[in-house]
Every structure is written in structure tokens, then in C-alpha cells.
Amino acid sequence: MDAAAPRPKENQGEPLPRVDARLKVTGQAHYPADLPTANLAYGALATSRIAKGRVTKLRLDDARAVPGLLDIVTYGDMDKVDKPKFGNSGATSIGPLHDRTIFHDGQIIALAVAETFEAAEEAAQLIRAEYEEEKPTASFDSPGTKTVAAAGKSPMFKEDVKAGDFDAAFAAAAVKIDQRYSTPTQHHNPIELFSTTAYWQGDQLVVHEPSQNVTGWKVELARQLKMDPANVRIVSPFIGGAFGSKGPMTPRTAIVAVAAKRLGRPVRCVTSRMQAFGTQTYRAETRHRIRIGAGKDGRITAFAHEGWEVTSRPDLYVVGGTSATGRMYGYGSVLTHVSLVQADRNTPGYMRSPPETPYVYALENAMDEMAVALGMDPVEFRRINEPKTEPIGKKPFSSRSLIQCYDQAAAAFGWAKRDPKVGAMRDGDWLVGMGCATAIYPSAVAPCAARVRLTSDGEVRVQCGSHEIGTGIRTVAGQMASERLGVAIDKISVEMGDSGLPPAPVSGGSISTASVCSAVLKACDAIRSKLFAAATAEGSPLAGSHNEEFDLADGKIVAKSGASAKVEDVMKIMQVGAIEEYAEFAPKGATPEALKKLYAGTPEFHGGEQDEDSVKYAFGAEFVEVRINRYTREIRVPRIVGAFAAGRIMNTRTARSQLMGGMIWGIGQALHEATEVDRRYARYVNRDLQDYLVPVNADIKDLQVILVPEVDHAVNPAGVKGLGELGNVGTAAAVASAVYHATGKRIRDLPIRIEQLLA
């Protein structure tokens, strides 16, 4: 087997190729802006050139004179529509065309609609705004920021976790560190551009838009447009990368819907790469202060993590990663506090492992510093602080295979060959460094519905309003049906990405595989029950064997005794051509309103840190080798090994690919990614893929993913822990650790760039 298809170990599913692979390699996978739409008009956005103030005048004459221009939607044209709401389905509460206040650079000021893309672009660029401009506040340290406590500002961040008496423990600690860390603004930059295509069929609105949350958007868009959600349909069959950017809907969607209504024809607006930086969400920049105190034996007695995060003026978006960092190790005492710092910026949002990426980076960089201060091997230091229960609520972990991950990754990496002395390892002109760090991600799950149909000739259709953002969710949902119904994967079709399908939760928080597979499992088991009941009824082929266990395989119901009956024959007795089941899955601990909330687009999350019985996390360990040129200080990452345990693995191929992509994201976070902010104008500077650096093929060499077997029956019926966001947690700290090992320089501010190593 080749590297892309790891041989399954215990509790791991077959590395089947993706069910939509052929569509993707032939150009037949239709992303929302590809869906054929007749009589299409093209929209282009005009955006603000200031970050704070008011639009006093818009001059539209030049734009209106462009041949082919059809309409301009701007101030006054959205008055009959409700403003957006900030939350899981809405990126911001700013209604950019509802009033003339400018909250951030790049805010939408108009939409030009024309017969062609070229005419729409020309017209949008000819829209001239006059402003009453105020001096904007760009970020941390700018005059005019407002700082508020984060706890309680988001339903997902209720409190600053704490345990024991930190102050006393820290004061008494024999070895301690007190350090500050920071992470920059980052933009998701999925390669698919953001787009909205809207058209009306009478009172019905259809929107084609890449979305991680079609049900939530349907409800939120209907609210804005004062419609019955039943009359709104969001279609998103394939999504060209998301990483959180397509979770909440942005204000553009309603604006394009209004334009389509005014014109009486379909309108498509594809946002330019540059405009996406200001009209979509992003990862907030963060700052951290970490204090760790330990005894000389390496046991941590005191841990404090304070965080500061930039957000917008109108919306209090919380990153809030202390819920995880406060529970990571067996600290004796814990103190945490998170603050939000408001500036004149667009509202940040979820980006791949939103809380963990920055917060665990800070924690793990600090852990490495602490290991150095103690004179201990960093792996040993973590082993010593491995907890039996998490320190905040003293709950057990539903499963925790961190040490197994460290052991397997260390062995594969060759950690034992590392000379721990700083700067001791060299290869010609290259300084060699090796480092490691822990990855952690909460294993959450949410209610989900699915419909499954099995026909008498053995064809299966799975329908679920989840989203194929590249994770392989179609494939693993098909695999679950294949396993439970005994039908080969090529006889199974999986429909997703349409709000007309049974509702699924947002494809975020790494909940999709657990939630969708649990719902598909439930629907399949209902089909099995019906078939078994019919097969064992009087006069049926397996009559009298009802006390036995049955299974489905190769189109047959097979009893333990070996007796079997064809599904086709049983359906004849039942006088049906197909059995279809609609299942609603609600996780353990769900409230009585849980399913109602699923349909309302506001699903409850369970698991992670929220359950009473235990905390639920997936863990991993990552080891990185860096090479730094002794003259130029160019930094390369020739080798990276990650070992991860995430409960049941549905498909080792898609799981490995996600973890691999995550680790490469982590390398990008360590060395490349940062959105530069011009502090004078509160404006993003590097708004394209030439200047916003992301890893390219030449940046990546040897990469190894190890899937550590783990069984966890407590997480959810499918036994699955999500892993789409696990791989990029901790990576940047492992790189920082390796850079320290190579050079003796401790870099605490990401990204790590050549200039930081030159001084």
C-alpha cells in the first residue's frame, strides 16, 4: 500500500478512494459558482477606502454610464431588509448598506450589476465615494482600543477556568518562567473565491454559495429577508476549501438576493481575492502571557494563561483557547483570563482550530522553555505531567492516548538521536534543530438528521445536509452505510450540500464525521430492524430464528447459524421496492429542544469540555526538524512526523490527508502566514496570494502521519473523534522549539522569519 492509503489498524476503516474523486479529477465537480444558471447578470462589489467614518456622498454617474450596466445596489436599497446578526450563522452584525457608517476598511459600499463580468468590474471601480474620515484604531497598542473581559461574551466561552491557588503555588515554585507570545492576523484564503449566485422563482429564493452551514444560512437569510425559511434554499454541493471561512454567512448574500429580486434575473457576485480580506472573517491576532511554576522534579504546580484578542467595534468575537490549555496537563493550580480588544476592524471569525491554534502555540512554546529551564527532555517533561483527571473539574478523559502518540512519533522521528545541546547539530552550512509539541482538539458532536434508502436491487442513497469541504465526509458517510447495510461503496450515492436535505450541523469544530456518521448509523439500523423483523416473521425465510443475531452482507440477511435470506426476497414479502428511513440523532446529554434547534440552524454542541461525565479530546504529538542556513538564516522544514489518536478512524486515507494538510498549515503558521496591517489606516496590506504567504509544494518534503489506534465508546455512537482541526495545533510550537534547538534563539512572536534570526 502506498503512503496515501495507510493499512488500517485496530478500529480503523478501509482507505477507500473518495466517492467523488472522479468528479474532482475530470472537472465535473460543480462548485457553487460553476452551477449552470441561465440569463445570468454579473455583480461586482465596491468597497470602502477608509476604516472609520461615514460615506457622505456616492457619485454613481460614471458607473451608470458603463454600457451593459443594469443596476447599482447601495444605501437605501436594503431598507426593507433586516440587518445581519452576529453569531454562528452570521459573520457580523454590520449591515454595510443599512447605514453610511464605516466600521472597517474594505466594507461594502455598493454592488454594481451588469450584463458581463467585465462591465460590472468596470462600473464598480468607477463608483466614487466621498467620506467624512476619522482616525482609525488598527490593533493592539493603537490609541483608542477598548478592552473588555471575554468570559460570558460568547455562549461558547462562558468562564475563565481556574483551579487551586495559583499565586501561592507560583510564588513557592522552585523553577518558573513568565513569558509573552503573540500570533498575527491570518486569513483563510481557500482557493475557491467567495461567491453568491441568487435567483428567484416566484416567492422562492435559491442561493448558490459555498457554505459550511446551509441550514443555518437558510434560516438567517430568511430572517433578514423577512421570509418563511421554507422558501429559501441554499445550494452548495462542493466547497473549494473552507477552514471556517464559509461557516458564518456574510452580508453580501442578502445584498445579491436583493439585486436578483430587483432585476428579476439571476445575479452572481464573485468576490475578488483582495476584497475577501475585508468582506469575510479572519483569525484574530492574539497576545499571551504564560507563567509556569514547577518543582525541581519537573512536576508543574502552577499554570497561568492570560490572553488578549483583537475584535471589531460592533461584535465581540471570542477566540478563548484557555478552556483547552487549562486542561492540557496535570497542573497543580490554574489561573486564566481572556480579554477582548476592540479596534476599527472587520469582525474576526473561526479559522481552523480557532481557539487551539494560537493558545496551544503559546502553551507549548512555554512548555518547551520550561523543559529547558528544568534541564529536562521535552518529551519526558510532558510525560511527568500527564494527568489522571483534568485539573479544572477533576473529570476523567473519555480516552487520552497522548503518551502513545509521543512514543510512536518519537520512535519514527528518531528523537533518541537528537543531541539536546543547543546548536550541536549541523550539516554543512545548515544548523539542524529538532523540536516537538502536543496537539489537542475537543471531540464535540451535535444533533444531525439523515435519510437512507435501500432498494430491493441493492442500491443505497444517503441524504444529509452536511458539506463536502474536502474532508471526505461524503465518502465516510457512504462507508458507514456500506458497513451497516452490507452494500459495496460503488452502489451507494451520497447527497449533501443542500438545505433541502435533512439538516446537519455546521461543518465546523471537527464535528461532522461524528455527527453525520451517528445519524447515518441510526437510519441504517432502522432499515436493518425492519428487514430483520420481516425476515423472521412467520412464513418468512428466517422464521423461528428471531433470537439470533443478524447481519447484512452482499445483499443478504445472514443469521449467526449461517442461514440467510436475500434482501430482495424479504422486500418481496414486505411488498416494498425500497426501505427508506429518516433518522434524527441527538447526542447524550442533549436538551429536549436539541432537535428543534437543529432545524432552526442553531445546533447544540456536546462533548469536548461540556459533558458532565468526562472531558473528550483527541490528542497528537508532532516532531519537526528544521534546517537554518548559517549565513542567510533561511529556514526549511525538511521533515515532520505526527502521531494522532482520534477514536475510530472511518477511512485511513481521508484521515491521513486531513492530518497532513493540518500539519502543513501548522508549518505555514510557524513560518509564512501573516496578514500585515498598515497601522496608520487600519488596512490590510498584503491582500493577495503573492504577498500573503502560504506553504507551496517546494516548502514541504518528508511528512509522516501515524494513526495511533484508540477505542472510545463514550464520545458518540460512531466512536469517532474529529481530526480535521487536530493536525495544525501545536505544529508552530514544535517549529519554534526546533528553531531554538538549532540557534539558541527563542522566537515567541509568529511567524518566525529570517529577520528574527539575523540579529
Binding site: 472537472g27 483563510h188 473549494g240
Partner: protein, 206 residues
């Protein structure tokens, strides 16, 4: 960070062409206020006149009446309906729009459709044979899971074929370097390299 390699566009690039027209137009209204002079000038009327362009795409002839500013990418997607070629940046920075023009890889967003008059264009839709058999590069991408979301994939596959045909797939390091103009945000890079290695021999013969 390695810079994506710049791929040649045949003759005049769209970027240069745009820059030329903008600066020529911007030079004229010196008497206007500063705000107006810095704003983009209206396109010259001639540019808006439709131009009849003949393209041969996937061995089929097309005659199109296009706004002269239409990129080859937008012509394929919006005027012919071949949406397999993707727009990821419209600035020649991501590689998602890569097609083959007369057998060489070209960024279709940086090439006006009219510049390709009379040329042979191959897109992702033109690779598989009419009986449905996939091109070896397509099959290799499936075998090695060389994509996740699949959006950059048509560009990666076209670029991979171009890379092999240029003789730039002789080593893994060469492949990494010469495929670095195609960004994969899902980061399937090691799998893309493995796929190109697998398909290299058969692609040379194809």
C-alpha cells in the same frame, strides 16, 4: 517560502496590457482633481466592442463574440460553459486556472481570450478519452489522494502534465519546484508529488 514560478503567457500578458491601458488613460486628465486622477479611468470605448475570436478547445472549434477584456479563463467558464477550469485569484498567483495552450501550460486568467485566436486549448474536460478512460495523471491523482476539496485539482493536473512534458519531473525536488505555482490550500503536496511520479512515464507517451 518559495515563490510560485511564473508561467509564461504567450506574447503580451494580460497584466501588461491592463497596465498599459490604465497608464495611458491616467496620463490625460492632469487638469482633473487629485481624487479623480487617482481613480481608475473608464475603459476606452474600443475595448468594449465585441471581438470575434476563434478558439479550438478540446479539439472542438468555437467562434465567440467577446468583450476584448475577457480573459481566456472567463471565456471558458462564462461563455463556453467549461467550468472545470477554476478561478482562484484572477491574478496569476494560485495556478487554479492552468490550461494547456498548444501543449504548454498557461495561466488562463492572465491571458486574454483574443490572444489565443486560432490556438489549441486543452482543459481538464478534454483529458479523459471519449470512452471515459481517465488520463494517467487523473488516475494517479485519485490513487494518491492528491486533493481534498478538489478546487485547485484541475489546475494541478494540467500543470502536472505540463511539468512532465517540459522535462521538469525528473526528480522529486524538480516536481516540487516546478509545481510550486499551483497552490493547494488543503496542502496535498506530498500526494501531488507521488501522483506525478506515478503518471510521469505514461504521460510522456500520451
Amino acid at each position: 517560502m518559495s515563490q510560485p514560478s511564473a508561467l509564461s503567457t504567450n506574447g503580451l500578458s494580460r497584466r501588461k496590457f491592463m497596465a498599459g491601458t490604465v497608464s495611458a488613460a491616467a496620463a490625460a486628465p492632469l487638469l482633473a482633481s487629485r481624487a479623480e486622477a487617482t481613480a481608475p479611468a473608464a475603459a476606452q470605448p474600443k475595448l468594449r466592442q465585441p471581438v470575434i475570436t476563434s478558439l479550438r478547445i478540446n479539439k472542438q472549434a468555437y467562434e465567440l463574440s467577446l468583450d476584448a477584456r475577457t480573459s481566456l479563463l472567463d471565456a471558458l467558464r462564462d461563455h463556453i460553459g467549461l467550468t472545470g477550469t477554476k478561478k482562484g485569484c484572477d491574478h496569476g498567483q494560485c495556478g487554479a486556472c492552468t490550461v494547456l495552450v498548444d501543449g504548454k501550460r498557461v495561466l488562463s486568467c492572465l491571458s486574454f481570450a483574443v490572444m489565443n485566436d486560432g490556438k489549441d486549448v486543452t482543459t481538464i474536460e478534454g483529458l479523459a478519452s471519449t470512452d471515459g478512460k481517465l488520463h494517467p495523471m487523473q488516475q494517479a491523482f485519485i490513487d494518491h489522494d492528491a486533493f481534498q476539496c478538489g478546487y485547485c485539482t484541475p489546475g494541478q493536473i494540467m500543470s502536472g502534465i505540463g511539468c512532465v512534458n517540459e522535462g521538469h519531473a525528473e526528480s522529486e525536488n524538480d516536481i516540487r519546484e516546478y509545481m510550486s505555482g499551483n497552490i493547494c490550500r488543503c496542502a496535498a503536496y506530498p500526494n501531488i508529488v507521488a501522483a506525478i511520479l506515478q503518471a510521469r512515464g505514461e504521460t510522456k507517451g500520451a
